[in-house]
Structure formats: structure tokens, C-alpha cells
């Protein structure tokens, strides 16, 4: 055993992430971050827009989601089938998605037909038709998704938690909308959502692959130059408003899903990295977290337990989830509470801090392992307002955190009395 311990300490000098990011400003003034990688004849592009489903107007919940679902269902002189045939003939890949506060388009183009693929994406972005037949067809799909979500334990728990925490605020509402709001959405609502979200002043672009900076500059103007400017609207202010406790939602599942949490910490907070490390030790990825050790490895109460920091524009949450059979979930919840209290009172150990730093700094460079993944990271960094040299400095920020920092943050951030558990299932003894 001893020799192994020495072996990994000697080896554990993290490699540096070698990601050579160029900032490209198009002739028309549109900015993107680029990594040139000519070894495979394709490029990946992530196009993120600030603003998402949380900007759906009152009563129009689900507008952004339905609109993004319709971008590939007809544009220019093409109906849905013609568009799909054109896209398949080019073997280009487009993915349209929307989250609470961000709207995301992921694209991949082959070098051999890049101009045609870009033209097709531009058509979807700038000339959507929102034809009545397409609207009805996709609306029916969304209604089916909503009905399924209403019987899915994970989704039931997430919705209930956010309703308790944020009341009527958009953060508490389903991105997909409700059966009532989706049924009432009109073609004009689609055009409105399109104009609201796909705006060139709120765009963040990451491009990686077989393309030069000059070629990308031309492409940026072509693709995005004609997009409108946003109206500047943002998500309304809100406060997290949920006291500690347990809410049981009776549903016929043999295994209960428990979603738990309290307020979190801002991504811009000077203590963010201390909180990030604390979370890794308490409930982060892998088998080594305290909660995985105590709930799964020691007691066999679950297949998976994890915690995570959620940062939104106007609210932060510190969340976790565990699923256990109905007759054992009460015990799992007790262990979570105990571990929360223990970490709040006693903090973490120097050994845990060291192991967390080794993991987090070693794992970081491994994220940059493919054009598509790097494109997403580049767009996300800009969306978070991180500097272009962030990748080179990020591990230093992790390493700079001291045990005192983490344990001070643990005593402030972890508030066992504020933990609220939403339990979906038929739990015994709660």
C-alpha cells in the first residue's frame, strides 16, 4: 500500500492545458474565440446567447423552447422535410437548445462543404417560417414531453423545489411551459421569442477546428450580421425564499427521489473557489466524496448521491440529490444532514483539501479533449465573463485556496438547519 501512495504523489504534477485561443473580431465587429485545429477536416462551433426561457413573458411560458424546436422545421423556401434533406445531404450537424438564461446552438460543419452548411444554418437562424403545420406538429411533441415530465420523479422534485424556493418567478417555471401556456402559443409568439433571444449584441461564440481566423471573420459577419439587437430585458430580481424542512410528494414509486438544498454562492464571489473545493469534498464527482462514502460505500443506501453549486443571474443554490428505496430514504436523509452539520462545524481536513486539489487541477486539462468540447468551453467562458487567459490561471486559483479559507466558507455556506428536502415517492418515516 505504501509504495502506491508514494507512486502517485511523485507522479502527480498536473499537466498544463495547452489551448491556444485567439480572439477574432470580424470586419463587422462580431467577436469569437477560436482554436485552430486542422488535423481533422471539420469544425465545431458553439453559439450562445445571453437570455433564455426565463425571459418568456408572463403567460407565454414555453415560447423559447417551442421556438428553438421549430428552427429546423422550416425556413427560407424550405419546409421541415426539405431542410432536413438538405442538412443530411451535407452531413452538417445543428443542435438547437434553450436553458433558463442561455440559448445555445451547437454546429459542426465538414470542411468539404462548409460554405453550403453555413448558408443552411444562416437560413435557419435568420429566416424561420414557423409554419402553422410545423407549429402544431412540434407543439404536440412538447405537450407529450410536458405530460411525461409530470410523471417523472426527478422532474417532479426539481419543479417542486424551485416553486418552493422562487414562487412565481421564472426560475420556478418549466422551460417547456405548461400544457395551458403551450396550447395558447401563436405564430407571433414564435417570431417574438426569436427576436428576443437570437440577438447579435448578446452572442458568445466558440469555434474550434479546420478554419483560419480570417475565414472565421468572414463567416461571423455572414452568419450573424443581420441578427437584430436585443431590447436589453433581463430576468426580474428574486430572492431564494425557502426555509429548512421536508416536503413529501406522494407518488407511486418504490424508490424515493430526494432533492435537497439551500442558498448557494455567486460565481463572482471571492470565496467561490473555496466553495467549489468544499463541494468536491462533500458531494462532488467520483467515489471519494464524503456523501458517496457514507451513503453508498458504507451503508449501501443508494446507487448515486451528489451535490452541486447552481449559479444564476439573480440567485444561487447549493443542491444535492439522492435516491433510496422508500423504506431507506429517511436514513439517507439523516446521513446527509449529519454530514452537512459535521462539515459546517468541523470543516474538512488538510488531507482532503490536498486530494481535492490534486483531482481538480489534474482533471482540468483533460476537459479539453475534442473540438466540440472545446468549442462549448470557449463559449461558456465568455458567457461567464472569464478572461481569455483564464485556462492558464485557473489551476493557480484552485491551488491558492487554504484550509482556513475552505473551513471558513464551510461554516458560512453550509447551513444544516436551512436544508430543505423535497422527497418524491412513498417514503416511510418522514
Amino acid at each position: 500500500m505504501i509504495r502506491y501512495i508514494f507512486a502517485f504523489i511523485l507522479l502527480a504534477v498536473p499537466v498544463r492545458a495547452e489551448v491556444d485561443i485567439q480572439q477574432v473580431i470580424s470586419p463587422g465587429g462580431i467577436k469569437a474565440w477560436l482554436v485552430e485545429e486542422p488535423s481533422i477536416p471539420f469544425m465545431a462551433m458553439d453559439i450562445w446567447f445571453e437570455g433564455g426561457a426565463a425571459l418568456d413573458p408572463a403567460g407565454k411560458q414555453g415560447a423559447a423552447f417551442l421556438m428553438m424546436g421549430l428552427l429546423e422545421e422550416g425556413s427560407g423556401d424550405m419546409d421541415a422535410r426539405a431542410f432536413a434533406a438538405a442538412q443530411e445531404g451535407l452531413a452538417a450537424s445543428f443542435n438547437f437548445d434553450v436553458y433558463d438564461e442561455t440559448t445555445i446552438i451547437e454546429a459542426q460543419f465538414l470542411t468539404e462543404n462548409r460554405d453550403q452548411s453555413v448558408a443552411l444554418l444562416k437560413q435557419a437562424l435568420t429566416q424561420p417560417r414557423f409554419d402553422a403545420d410545423a407549429l402544431e406538429r412540434v407543439r404536440a411533441q412538447v405537450l407529450s414531453i410536458i405530460a411525461s415530465d409530470e410523471k417523472d420523479p426527478d422532474t417532479i422534485a426539481a419543479r417542486a423545489f424551485d416553486r418552493l424556493a422562487f414562487g412565481d418567478h421564472p426560475y420556478a417555471k418549466a422551460i417547456e411551459g405548461t400544457a395551458e401556456t403551450v396550447a395558447a402559443l401563436t405564430q407571433q409568439d414564435m417570431f417574438d421569442a426569436h427576436a428576443r433571444l437570437l440577438t447579435k449584441d448578446r452572442i458568445y461564440i466558440g469555434a474550434v477546428g479546420d478554419i483560419t481566423a480570417d475565414e472565421l471573420g468572414v463567416m461571423l459577419d455572414d452568419l450573424f450580421g443581420s441578427l437584430p439587437v436585443s431590447d436589453g430585458s433581463g430576468v426580474p430580481e428574486t430572492t431564494y425564499n425557502l426555509a429548512g424542512g421536508i416536503t413529501v410528494i406522494d407518488q407511486p414509486f418504490p424508490q424515493s427521489v430526494a432533492l435537497f438544498g439551500h442558498e448557494g454562492i455567486d460565481r463572482d464571489d471571492p470565496d467561490f473557489f473555496a466553495a467549489f473545493i468544499l463541494n468536491h469534498v462533500l458531494g462532488g464527482a467520483g467515489f471519494e466524496s464524503r456523501l458517496t462514502q457514507e451513503v453508498r460505500e458504507e451503508r449501501g443506501l443508494t446507487y448515486g448521491i451528489g451535490t452541486y453549486l447552481v449559479g444564476k443571474e439573480n440567485a444561487n443554490k447549493y443542491m444535492g440529490q439522492v435516491a433510496s428505496a422508500n423504506d431507506r430514504v429517511a436514513q439517507a436523509i439523516e446521513v446527509v444532514k449529519d454530514e452537512w452539520a459535521n462539515a459546517a462545524t468541523n470543516g474538512i481536513t488538510a488531507e482532503e483539501l490536498e486530494a481535492a486539489k490534486l483531482y481538480l487541477t489534474g482533471a482540468y486539462p483533460l476537459r479539453f479533449d475534442g473540438n466540440a468540447r472545446i468549442a462549448g468551453i470557449l463559449a461558456g467562458m465568455q458567457r461567464q465573463d472569464l478572461p481569455i487567459d483564464y485556462i492558464a490561471t485557473r489551476n493557480d486559483k484552485v491551488n491558492a485556496v487554504t484550509l482556513d479559507d475552505v473551513n471558513r466558507v464551510a461554516s458560512e455556506l453550509l447551513r444544516p438547519e436551512d436544508l430543505h428536502f423535497v422527497v418524491v415517492g412513498q417514503p416511510e418515516g418522514l
Binding site: M1, Y4, F8, I9, L11, V15, E37, S39, I40, P41, F42, A44, A80, R81, F83, A84, A85, E88, G89, A91, L110, R137, A140, Q141, S144, A147, S148, D149, K151, P153, F253, P254, Q255, V257, A285, G286, F287, E288, Q293, R296, E297, G300, L301, Y303, A323, S324, A325, A355, L358, Y359, T361, G362, A363, Y364, P365, L366, D369, G370, N371, A372
Partner: protein, 445 residues
Amino acid sequence: MLRRLFVVLAYLSFHGTAFANDAVTTFDLDNGMQVVVIEDHRAPAVVHMVWYRVGSADEPAGTSGIAHYLEHLMFKATENLESGELSATVAANGGSDNAFTSFDYTAYFQRVAADRLPRMMEMEADRMANLRLVEDDIATERDVVIEERNQRTENSPGALFNEQMRAAQFLNHRYGVPIIGWRHEMVNMSLDDAVSFYEQHYGPNNAILVVAGDVYPDDVRALAEEYYGVIPPNPAVVERDRPQEPPQLSERRMVFTDDRVAQPYVVRSYLAPERDPGAQETAAALLMLAELLGGSSATSVMGQKLQFETQTALYTSASYRGLALDDTTFNLVIVPAAGVSLQDAENAMDQVIADFMISDIDQGAMDRIKTQLRASQIYAQDSAQSQARRYGAALTSGLTVEDVQAWPDILQAVTAEDVLAAAELVFDRNNAVTGWLTNGQEVSQ
């Protein structure tokens, strides 16, 4: 330099007969362990995988779930590692690790910086031969896999339905038994069951090492010989020869009712041949058939007819998974639109299939599918990990490296006649299971 050469080969392969777009090297160790190296020097990372030619379909009757349970137990103590130490060591090196079990294979992997590869091999080789299970680990981990079954299966009516469908599809083959195991057998899984499964199936002569990423074949060979080459072959390992299906003489039909179902649908599965070594043509035609019938909603035959023209369906699909050691399935799904009964949806689907059998195949559609398949070879190079998985899954499903590399060209060579012949072969209702998933309100419509 090497990288540039491989790109040139990839281009040529579209026109030639040999497909060589992957920077792939393969060799065998003296103890029978096969090694596959996939080079990708873009990032200083590596994925290290060991695949065993054993899965849930190799379990002895009455011990369903033992292959997957053993996969969990492989993270416990060995002669040289404490329980959990392997994962802790991977994490301390900034890596991540996990494992997965299927019908035909069990695989273990770590993703780490390339210079950590020797340590990964040392630990993986250790648990290949030196697992030391104790009763304490056994009981707790059995609870964990039962919770895994709760999460994946018991809490999901769709998963329970799928389990029942497979059980009906396979009259004699272990593919009809769920990988996770039947609950009543899982609760009785014992230390002896796990140890005897390990002793029967684990060893270098039943394993394939796949290393993908920032590595060179000569270096991998030297490391593999050092760490794995010293393990003697396991004499208990024998060629897999599982009970096969008898002729299936009657369609099976089921109605699975569960209040938790929000969206009813119909699934039809047909018994179908799998990709066979040196003879993948029928499988290629079946894959093309699936793409033509129900690949893309907006352009496939089922999607166009049922979702666009008649609007009978919210969603349709056809799928074929050719990677299997023994006979596999070809599946059709129709999710009816609101107000359409499951019977009407099933009838409409069958009418589309019947019409397809007597119509000309749309050559334009076939060309587009072939274009996408060709492009997928380019896009696939973006992920060393998914390439590693592709080889590992194929080699544990009875195929060779040559079969994997020949597959793209075999797909390109499929003709309309091949597709129709494959459809004639597979669409035999005596080989089929038809299942309705409902919430009970649907049947009375």
C-alpha cells in the same frame, strides 16, 4: 507528421477498399491478451480500457445480475489495493474512472493525463488476477446494485416494459434476462457466486486492452508486456457457446399497464441476425433499412408518412443494433398522436411497412444516409474515447479489428436490393414481439 499521414489515408479510403482512417495499431501479448492502440495526439490525455469477453448473457442460470455485481465488486480490495483505493488513486492523479456491463462484455476504464498510464495499467492488471473479496463488501454492494435497479428499472415503467419485451423476445437465449438482474435473484447473490464468476472468466486470455489518446504503439506495447504480460492465462476460460434460439413459431403480444405511464406507445421487436465476423453484409443492409424506415423523423419513410402526412404519430423510429455476439433485434416504435388508439397506430405502422416492401427505395434518401455515414467517420475522430469504445464493443462481440475497419465500406456498398432482401428476412411476425405500453385508460378507447 504521423497525424498528417493518417489524414491522407482517411481521404483515400473513401475511394479505395481498405479503410484506414483510424490511427489504429493492434497486437497480441503472449498470454493471449489482445491490445488495440488508437493514437490522438491533440491533447495530453489518454483513456485506458480493459474489456472482458464476458457479460450478463454468460451468467449461470439462477444468478442473474452477477456479471454486473462483480463489476461493482472489482473496485473493492485486491492483494495489493485496499477497497476503494484504485478509484482514490485515479482521482488523486486527476483522472476519472468507471466501468460498465452489457450482455456481451464488461469493461473498466480510466481517463487520465497520458503520463499516468503506467500506474493505471499496474492497478488494472492487479485486479485482473488478485481480487480479494470479503463478506462485508458483498452485502453493502448488493444493496447498492439493488438501488441501481430501483433507479433504472423499478421507478420507470418504460424500463420495466422493455425488460418484459426482451424476456418475450428470447425464448432460450440469456439476452432475455436483464443485465442488472431479476430482483428475486439479485437479493440472493452471494460471495461464492461472484468469486466463481471471476475465476471462470477473468484473465488476460479473455481480455482486450484498448488505449486511446496521446500514446505511441511501441510505448504501449512495452507497458502492456510489463504489467499485463506477466499474468498467466486463465485455463478456466473457454470459448463462449451459449444456448441459442429455437425456431420462433408464433408472434408474442403483450399489453403492459402502469398508472405512471404518461405517453402510451407501441414497440415491435423482431429477432435479427447480428454483425458476424467476415460476413457483415446482411447487418449493413439492416442498418440501412433502419435508417431508411425510421432514422430521421423528417426524411425517413415512417416519419414522413406517419408524422407528416397522416399525423397519426408524434414520433416514430426504427433501430437496429448489430453489435452482439448472438442474434439481436430490429425494433420499430410508434408514439401515437393525441386521440389515436394504440391499435390504430400499430395498424398504420404495419401499413407503412407493407407499402415499403412493394415500393422502390428512394435512391436520394439512400445517398444522403451514405453521406452521413461517411461523415460520421470524420466526426468520430473528435473523440478518442468513443473510438476506444467502438473497438472494445466490437472485439468483445465476436468481431475483429479488420471487421471494424471494413464496416464503413460495407455500408457504402449496400444496394436497394440488399435492403429489400434484408427487410424480407427480418419482417417475420413469427419472430416478433409486439408490446403496448399503456396507463390503462388507453385500452378502452
